[in-house]
């Protein structure tokens, strides 16, 4: 991944967008997952309906959200309702796919978004993370869950410090059912270097697709267990110009994917408002 014409975040958003199908209902968490949802809706899945935990069902997605409870999450929604209701509808099985970020993932797809203990513990961790939010609920109840996180040291671990969101738990064939969970667990882990899936019999995460120019050994060295590789390992195609245009229009001021640097490049609020409205399609 050298002198590419796209960023790692853009590639992650595009790879995740491809996990959505038209007419599905997607429950999407905070951050780059939001950009992936808007991209899919503007590109190959115009009838994708996105649900936000604040209580917004099927918004138009004119603009990007910085929080799942910004007023933007409600833009032209088909249904505006309550938080407890959308979580209940999730529990009923009405949502096809969920997308989540995480700080740590283990080989059975369990996620940690609560705390990195380091040499310490839950009460005084090295890094306190935000907590479950709706992540645990998505992982507990939705059939197909897509996880997004960067493949960096100490993120893909044998065992997460704190199990916030259930993947396949201890990997036993009926572990989720025994615990009483409804959803069928994670379907894919999208990173900036590769895409992972889970073995149907062992529930173990394996390398399914590498991105152009990435070396398998580099990936193995970043994973904290003996990673298995798919016998028919795929190589992702380069994002097309159309895909890149769609993902960039989804976050036109680049504030989600570009972070603080992109914020500083803006002349001020007026420019942000202007760029947002211009790219909204409304």
């Amino acid at each position: 991944m050298g002198n590419q014409k796209y960023t790692a975040s853009e590639l992650m958003a595009i790879m995740t967008a491809k996990e959505f199908r038209d007419w599905e209902v997607a429950f999407v968490g905070i951050g780059i997952p939001l950009v992936a949802g808007i991209t899919a809706k503007r590109f190959h899945a115009p009838n994708l309906n996105i649900v936000y935990e604040s209580g917004c069902i099927g918004p138009q997605k004119y603009r990007v959200d910085f929080n799942v409870g910004d007023s933007s999450a409600a833009d032209g929604a088909l249904c505006l309702t309550s938080e407890w209701r959308v979580f209940s509808d999730m529990q009923c099985g009405y949502y096809d796919v969920g997308v989540l970020g995480a700080a740590q993932v283990d080989k059975y797809g369990n996620l940690n978004t609560t705390a990195i203990f380091g040499s310490q513990d839950y009460q005084s961790p090295k890094v306190r993370l935000p907590g479950s939010g709706g992540g645990n609920d998505i992982g507990s109840n939705i059939g197909r869950v897509v996880v997004m996180l960067r493949l960096e040291p100490l993120r893909f671990v044998e065992k997460v410090d704190y199990l916030t969101t259930p993947g396949f738990l201890d990997g036993a064939p009926d572990a989720r059912k025994r615990a009483g969970l409804l959803g069928s667990g994670p379907a894919a882990v999208v990173t900036d270097k590769a895409l992972f899936r889970f073995d149907a019999s062992t529930s173990e995460m394996y390398l399914d697709t590498i991105y152009p120019g990435v070396d398998v050994q580099d990936i193995k060295s970043l994973v904290g267990w003996e990673l298995k590789i798919s016998p028919d390992l795929k190589v992702a195609s380069e994002p097309t110009d159309e895909e890149l245009a769609a993902v960039r229009a989804s976050d036109p001021a680049n504030l989600i994917m570009g972070g603080v640097a992109a914020r500083k490049r803006l002349s001020g609020l007026d420019e942000y408002i202007e760029v947002t409205i211009k790219n909204s399609g409304k």
Binding site: S82, P130, T164, R263, L269, I273
Partner: protein, 306 residues
């Protein structure tokens, strides 16, 4: 509650917070990051209220401010971050380093907290959920009880009803009697207002009761749940208020940068909270034309009919 209904529950924010939010009390806030009770939180900090137990779902600015100001004894909730902008600086400093002080943490999921408020609003002792099973949330939180349900025998988690002393909820429109109308998502507001012992409504606009009656379906919180009604325009800034103003991402970005440093955070608190007499003074510092632009942006996308 009974005996508590009359034609005029209107008061100032200062009086409402002073009357109902006491040291050591438990509290919850409406909204879901959007429609957050920012003005009320500033007033709580301004009045120096301490040792709060906050029982809530997902919070960003508000909890970072309250924790940074040393007002929080305990958190029972699901999310304390800063959205797509990053982690919450004061939360991290407190939990990791005890600055300015540690606070107790009890982790739940958003659906778990939602069910606690649904149970509270129903006045039943608990609610069943299929969330949180099999995870470390159960390990560290003993108040979640896993039982086999008495009908089909499957495992199910029970969560206890939440009944905080106070709920503060910001809405678009309310009348002086206390009928509160909400547009856009409603979060857990209708349940929080019912579960709490006292409810303060802050709103963008106080309207006539006849205006409420024109769209009775929009009344998420009826008068009998409400103790105080306070008009606070732009009461959610820098968060958004559906149909009124958009999220101020750059203001939040600046806050986030400042709050990474304890001294800079304290300066921020001085400027925007302690040296601002009330929310109008805060708004003047933010700048009325900036607020107007946020309103223009929001109304490009969402307009409340009528």
């Amino acid at each position: 509650m009974n005996g508590n209904n009359n034609a005029n529950k209107q008061m100032t924010l200062k009086d409402a917070i002073g009357k109902y939010v006491k040291d050591d009390c438990s509290i919850t806030f409406g909204g879901f990051i959007g429609r957050d009770c920012v003005a009320a939180v500033h007033e709580i900090i301004r009045q120096g209220i301490k040792n709060l137990t906050v029982i809530d779902d997902s919070k960003t600015d508000m909890m970072d401010l309250l924790v940074g100001a040393g007002a929080v004894k305990r958190w029972e909730g699901a999310y304390l971050g800063y959205g797509a902008i990053g982690l919450a600086p004061n939360i991290r400093r407190s939990v990791e380093k005890g600055i300015p002080a540690k606070f107790e943490l009890e982790d739940w999921s958003n659906a778990g907290i939602s069910m606690r408020y649904l149970a509270g609003s129903l006045n039943i002792p608990f609610m069943a959920t299929k969330s949180m099973l099999g995870t470390d949330i159960l390990k560290y939180n003993q108040r979640i009880k896993v039982i086999n349900d008495p009908y089909a025998g499957e495992p199910v988690a029970l969560v206890p009803a939440a009944h905080p002393d106070v709920a503060v909820i910001h809405v678009q429109r309310a009348d002086a009697m206390g009928n509160a109308q909400v547009w856009g998502f409603t979060g857990n507001d209708e349940n929080k207002a019912r579960a709490a012992k006292h409810t303060i409504i802050t709103c963008e606009e106080i309207v006539a009761t006849d205006e409420i009656r024109r769209q009775g379906n929009m009344t998420a919180i009826p008068f009998y749940c409400v103790d105080a009604v306070v008009q606070v325009p732009y009461g959610c800034h820098p968060q958004s208020c559906y149909g009124y103003y958009a999220y101020d991402v750059l203001f939040c970005g600046d806050y986030h940068e400042a709050a990474k440093d304890r001294e800079q955070f304290l300066s921020w608190l001085d400027r925007y909270v302690f040296e601002s007499e009330d929310h109008a003074a805060y708004c003047a510092k933010v700048g009325w034309s900036r607020l107007q632009n946020l309103m223009t942006m929001e109304r490009h996308f969402n307009r409340i009919p009528g």
